[in-house]
Amino acid sequence: MSELVALEEATDTSVFGSKAVGLGEALRNGLRVPPGFALAGPLVEAVASSEDAAIEQVVATIGPLGGPLAVRSSAVDEDGSDASFAGQHLTLLNVPSAAELAGSLREIWWSANSDSAITYRKRVGLFTRPSVAVVVQRLLDPESAGVMFTCNPITGADERMIEAAWGLGEAVVAGLVIPDSFRVARDGQVLERRAGLKRIAVRSLPTGGTVEADVLPELVERLCLDDSQLEKLNELALRCEEVYGRDRDIEWAVADGTVYLLQCRAVTRVGTTA
């Protein structure tokens, strides 16, 4: 099996990790996902080891994707799942092009072997050699982005819970802002809109990397999603449930008016009102 495939060809979690395979499944089912590639753990390690042939393969294959790029770990553990390593492994946004990937892959490989990652692995009883697969995708320049639960994870109610902010979704994921929050019924009816306090937006820098940029004062408390976009997000939720099953935790972005799926995981805990 090839160690470097287009995302839609990533099918084996034990090779490419659950993040890559999940995005591959989305593409195979017609969901809109930024284009990209999946790299198997041994290839990532070969690049991290500065092996010329591996670096040349990565640059030649991924080069036509252009840039900028988002480079995310898709760790493979004994269960073929990377969920337990959330936050342990590095994500690098706005890598200018494939030519800079070698250094990025080396950083991600080391993030799985950092002292904090090793401490975590020992604590959870996984003190074994990490295998770090990676997803490389075109980085969007979104107007807004965030997260969406396809059910209410607290009450278990059958409604979409959406949190959103301006720019890249890292502002929401990392808790850098009070995001706008929305509740949308399964039939698309907007049940609640609550404006947050979004003083900063994570934006790409022309030179690579990201910056926490100030948001224009008039946008800080303005809702960053309109009803049309909420409708598209509800459609995305429905499609994700058709493909993956109910109770999904979705990362999404809106770029040039189009809603993209960035990641789709199972909700780890769903509450109940009973």
Partner: protein, 136 residues
């Protein structure tokens, strides 16, 4: 070019008994790692599975918050963690941008397990270190 510079490795006491071929076999297992100025390289009390050799830049060593030493090119740290898998005994912080070569337990252990000659020389090196500590 993969691996750490062999000439630098020759100065690491743990590898002092290895011949050129053995040293080359160890060197190729190292991977380059960069730290930004101000970044914590290793933290006292944390688990670790890597040994580092500094090739450029500077770092400071602190134990329980008290500064102990400065490190620069050619200096190394973390070799004992490769063997005993215990926690870090000091915090090391990059004071400038730092370029290191790192060797993890995952590469080092199979090398030693599969190569008795290297293992024996490493034991001799550790025995010398132990004897030296007993005398001082």
């Amino acid at each position: 070019m993969p691996g750490a510079p062999v000439d630098e490795l020759r100065n690491v006491p743990l590898f002092a008994g290895l011949d050129d071929d053995e040293l080359a076999g160890v060197a190729v297992l190292f991977k380059e790692r960069h730290f930004a100025a101000g970044e914590t390289v290793v933290k006292e009390g944390a688990d670790g599975a890597a040994f580092f050799l500094i090739v450029s830049g500077e770092a400071t060593v602190a134990v329980r918050g008290a500064g102990r030493a400065s490190l620069g090119p050619g200096d190394h740290f973390g070799e004992i963690a490769l063997i005993d898998e215990d926690v870090r005994s000091a915090t090391i912080t990059a004071t400038t941008d730092l370029v290191c070569y790192g060797l993890t337990l995952w590469e080092f252990r199979p090398l030693v397990v599969e190569n008795g000659e290297i293992g024996w020389k490493l034991m001799q090196s550790l025995a010398r270190k132990l004897r030296s500590a007993e005398i001082s």
